[in-house]
């Protein structure tokens, strides 16, 4: 059955939209404000024990023995597990390429500081931590591969000894005749860039409560899971359970951004529960655990990149050589973040040929995990920095060189050399809106005056594409299979006409429950306050993935509207029979099914649903007594990648242009953001306030990556970051107010024309701040090529310039 989902807001039933496209208040917020939302640490199950983990102090060592007897004898200790239990009961995670995933607890050897080695369940977390002090683990220290550069050297210590080297993936993608365009270029600009390790830091760390039902041999895990169905599936594989015997209940959680590293914590607590005979075991990751060895570390990269240019500023080729430090294996879907830049490799520009030369390497640092943006933010920093370098080389303004290279609006849908198709865009309109907002000419004049006074003012102008609505096919090229990411919703109308939407994901902060209610309310023409959005655990939820890859807003819109359409069709059939008219004569509006043009000839949806539920005798023959429908949406038209990784992967291409002015204090190296302007086009804005919230959050995280955040390791692989005294997340004081302009270029391919916007500004902010800093440093002849541009790093550059 083909369901026609409205492609634009005006295609919705009913005359007027009261909620979609408006800044409606979020239905999630009253519970958050009143403190009635059940976060995972509030969950207290009967007879629940508490887990603590002993973690490796060594970056690389062989485990030669355990003594857990004293810990087991401590009063209040319920169960102790080691790598020996895990070897017997579990498997390495399946989210890494074969041979590069770890068990949840170290087996035979440790590969990074903070890797869990022994876990204890006890009557309280205090006792569990006391017990850890009684555990003795013997280690034989091994040589360390502390950086990617060291790890690829001949004879480097191997992390996974059964593999031939530490290279997880080595691959070169060629799109177009790269060598030819570089040979034909009038100019080539090249530079190297360091992107130092950063990552997600949600307010709430990971937490879960696992209960292993030893009678039915089944497992229930309550937790702060971003992608519950996917987590349940993975745990079934790791813990040797049938897939229908693992149930995940996702609780509302305090952000995620990809950093809720559920696999290890949920497996360890599950195995403790199994060993404790089925007692529930709670694990709440603390911030030290999170920062050392949680899923908060991402993108540790060294780039060597070039642009081929024509004399008029046309960019014809882009080459990127990437050395990527994955840390101790690829357990956190790490290779995906290397592949995602392929979806928007050449950014906003018509660049005819490109090459991506990858070396993805394991080291004795913590394994890397997803982070908002999932790979493109460092890539954009490289591309946009090269655009600035090219502009300097040719004596062009940084805005002008971008303008000359944009994909023009009439070229959409536009297939980039790396294979993805961009849906729509007006990049020059976005640029002009940002320049106007910033009064760019006045900024340049101000900069010129400041330079005369010896002040270091810099301006950045960056244009970026945000790939939205991910599909697994994008990652087939790095070993992850699949085409199609389902997102389902069930819409039910009860006998009183009240509507419930059931979804498979829980609250995470982005406001998708509100969006679901907006859509249903406008579709049926009812009051949004009456629409309930309910969460279903993995055993009963429709097929789902949850938030991730800037997809859920678009996907849940498709799912909800698809389900609404199915109900509308049924309601029209029932009403047509009762009113003795053709279904095509009916319309749905204001909570009624009406005969078009006949005033008063109508039935309220409660009457229709009530008839369906209570009067089978009145229904059309063969009709189910079911005033409800489930629809599972996935991005249409996705294709399987070719041997060069080319495919239609991300459905939407949102676009933004940021214009920023910074000032560097020459005495301290500190960077202050003086002006921040954003023009942003993510198609139809289903809830503009939510879009703005996403945008601001992305800017904040981008500022963190550009100026503050860094997971620092010593030369011998010891982490120097274990608390928020070392890892500096920007606060309200460090994030400037922004001026914003909105451009709307609807997607021709999505429900209501919306584009993915959840990852948003983190794609642009690090690039634009680095570009602005380098613009400020230009008169001094030094440039910042490593993130974050911390005061110490910038001060060092200033000394070099003296």
């Amino acid at each position: 059955m083909s369901i026609e989902i409205p492609g634009l807001p005006e295609d919705m039933p009913g005359a007027e939209l009261k909620y979609v496209g408006k800044d409606v208040k979020r239905i999630e917020d009253p519970g958050l404000v009143a403190g009635t939302v059940e976060f995972i640490d509030n969950l207290d199950l009967p007879n629940m024990a508490h887990c603590a983990m002993l973690r490796s102090p060594h970056p690389h060592a062989r485990i030669t023995g355990y003594d857990t007897s004293a810990a087991e004898a401590l009063p209040g200790v319920v169960a102790v597990i080691t790598g020996e239990d895990v070897k017997r009961w579990a498997n390495p995670v399946t989210t890494a390429p074969e041979g590069w995933g770890s068990y949840c607890l170290a087996v035979d050897k440790v590969r990074f500081v903070g890797e869990p080695v022994v876990a204890v369940a006890a009557e309280s977390r205090y006792i569990a931590e006391d017990a850890l002090e009684l555990v003795n683990v013997e280690y034989e220290l091994l040589p360390v591969a502390a950086t990617a550069e060291e790890a690829i050297k001949e004879g480097a210590p191997r992390l996974f000894e059964e593999n031939e080297s530490n290279v997880i993936l080595s691959k070169t993608y060629d799109w177009g005749d790269v060598d030819q365009v570089f040979a034909d270029a009038d100019h080539v600009v090249s530079e190297t860039f360091f992107w130092n390790r950063v990552g997600a830091n949600p307010m709430e760390t990971f937490g879960c409560v696992s209960t292993w039902d030893t009678v039915n041999n089944s497992l229930t895990i309550h937790g702060s899971f971003q992608t519950p169905g996917f987590m349940a599936l993975g745990r079934a594989f790791s813990l040797n359970l049938p897939t229908n015997k693992v149930k995940v209940v996702s609780h509302p959680h305090g952000g995620s951004f990809g950093g809720k590293g559920g696999p290890r914590g949920s497996e360890i607590s599950s195995l403790l529960s199994r060993k404790a005979g089925g007692r529930a075991v709670k694990y709440i990751e603390d911030r030290v655990e999170y920062l050392l060895a949680g899923a908060g570390q991402s993108w540790d990269r060294y780039y060597d990149a070039s642009l081929a240019l024509k004399a008029d500023g046309t960019v014809t080729g882009f080459k990127v050589k990437l050395l990527d430090d994955q840390g101790a294996g690829a357990e956190g879907y790490g290779t995906i973040s290397i592949a995602k830049p392929i979806a928007a490799f050449t950014g906003c520009y018509r660049i005819e040929a490109a090459r991506y030369d990858l070396n993805v390497v394991a080291t004795n640092r913590a394994p890397t995990y997803p982070y908002r943006g999932y790979g493109p933010p460092p890539h954009n920093y490289v591309l946009e920095s090269l655009m600035d370098i090219a502009a300097q080389k040719l004596g062009l303004d940084v805005a002008e060189i971008r303008r000359r290279n944009y994909i023009p609006p009439e070229a959409f849908p536009y297939t980039i050399p790396s294979g993805n198709e961009y849906d729509s865009g007006q990049y020059e309109v976005t640029l002009d809106a940002a320049l106007e907002l910033a009064d760019y000419e006045a900024l340049r004049e101000e900069q010129a005056r400041a330079r005369e006074e010896g002040r270091l003012l810099g301006i950045g102008v960056c244009s970026v594409v945000e790939p939205g609505v991910f599909d697994w096919n994008a990652y087939t090229t790095v070993g992850i299979q699949g085409v199609g990411v389902p997102e389902g919703a069930k819409v039910s109308v009860d006998i009183m006409g009240q509507i419930t939407v059931t979804v498979g994901f829980s609250l995470e902060g982005q406001g998708q429950y509100t969006l679901a209610a907006q859509l249903v309310a406008d579709f049926f023409g009812v009051d949004m306050a009456g629409v309930r959005v309910a969460y279903a655990a993995t055993d009963v939820a429709p097929p789902h993935f949850g938030p991730g890859g800037s997809r859920l807003g678009v996907s849940i819109t498709g799912a909800v509207l698809g389900a609404c359409r199915k109900i509308e069709e049924k309601f029209k059939l029932v009403t047509a029979r009762l009113m003795q008219c053709e279904p095509a004569a009916l319309e749905l509006a204001d909570g009624f099914v009406r005969i078009k043009g006949v005033p008063g000839a109508e039935m309220h949806i409660a009457q229709v649903a009530g008839t369906m539920l209570a009067r089978s005798d009145l229904l059309p023959p063969g009709m189910e007594q079911s005033p409800e429908a489930t629809y599972v949406w996935t991005a249409p038209g996705r294709t399987e990648p070719d041997e060069q990784g080319r495919c239609k992967s991300y459905l939407t291409a949102a676009n933004a242009c940021h214009v920023v002015m910074v000032e560097i204090d020459p005495g301290t190296g500190r960077t202050d953001i003086l002006k921040y302007c954003v023009a942003d086009d993510c198609g139809t804005r289903l809830n503009p306030a939510t879009v703005e919230g996403q945008l601001m959050g992305g800017i904040a995280q981008g500022i963190g990556a550009a100026l503050f955040e860094e997971y620092v390791y010593t030369d011998d692989g010891q982490p120097k970051v274990s608390t928020f005294a070392e890892y500096l997340v920007p606060t309200i004081h460090e994030v400037p107010k922004t001026d914003k302009a909105v451009i709307v270029t609807p997607s021709p391919f999505t429900p209501l024309g919306a584009k993915g916007c959840g990852e948003g500004a983190i794609h642009t902010t690090p690039a634009v701040i680095m570009c602005a800093i380098n613009d400020a440093l230009l008169p001094l002849g030094v440039q910042a090529r490593a993130t974050p541009a911390s005061p110490n790093r910038v001060w060092d550059l200033l000394q070099q310039a003296k």
Binding site: D130, G667, T723, A725, E726, T731, H733, E734, P791
Partner: protein, 291 residues
Amino acid sequence: MKPAPFDYYSPDTLEEAVALLAKLENEDLDAKILAGGQSLMPMLSLRLARPDALVDLRKIGALDYIREDGDTIAIGAMTSKSAAEDSDVIRTRQPLFHEATLLVGHRQIRNRGTVGGSFAHAEPTAEYGAAAMVLGMDMKVVGPNGERIVPAKDFYVTYLTADIDSTEILTEVRLPVLKKGTGWSFQEMSRRQGDHALAGAAVTLRLVGGVCKDVCIAVFGVNASPTRLAEAEAFITGKAATEDNAREAGRVGADGLEEPMSDVHATAQYRRGLIATLVARCLVEAASRAS
């Protein structure tokens, strides 16, 4: 991140607290005083501090006061930093101490953290250390043998260590009010607002005939304890606080420092550079405020 087991005491009076500390010392137990807990509680949770006993002073209301005594302001050790921040007496009569207070963490931290707790903890990055050195503050310490007064220059022993015996309690800090005509400045560099300072400086001076006199310069966040910069003081004394002289004084002060601390945010060399910058800026600002 849960503390190791400890015994907890919350005496009602100073006398009880002093007697309790003596008793615990006699029993060879390691006791720590809890005076707000903004530093100690994280150390307990990280199991970096593992005392046998905590003696919490929170019930001793007699240690919560700000009093003017002629040209001295006396602050009870259990006075919160936000009370110091909100005090008109401190703001108007000793603005340098007030400014230092504003730079301690965030308001929420200042609500819980106490003035005495900060002094006794002797954290190298604490703003109050430099304030104590330039203002010539006195600390009142009470123990089994009565009270003694420790001048600031003797109070700081080394990293996280002040001249307070394990049976003693810091009960009061005393600061002279700012003398009429004295110029002052207090500046620091931190990564984010409210963070520990990477480096900071405090300056007081007078201008006589356009040149600097009675110059006091202290820095913090660079060495184990707050430090007076005698060479920089000598350099600028008798000179006008021009940008050039101030910059040179900053350089002299920075060059004379012991090797600064180095950590994830700042190398020793960078800290030295920050001191040169901050001392210079403080001198210019202090001179602009002198009359």
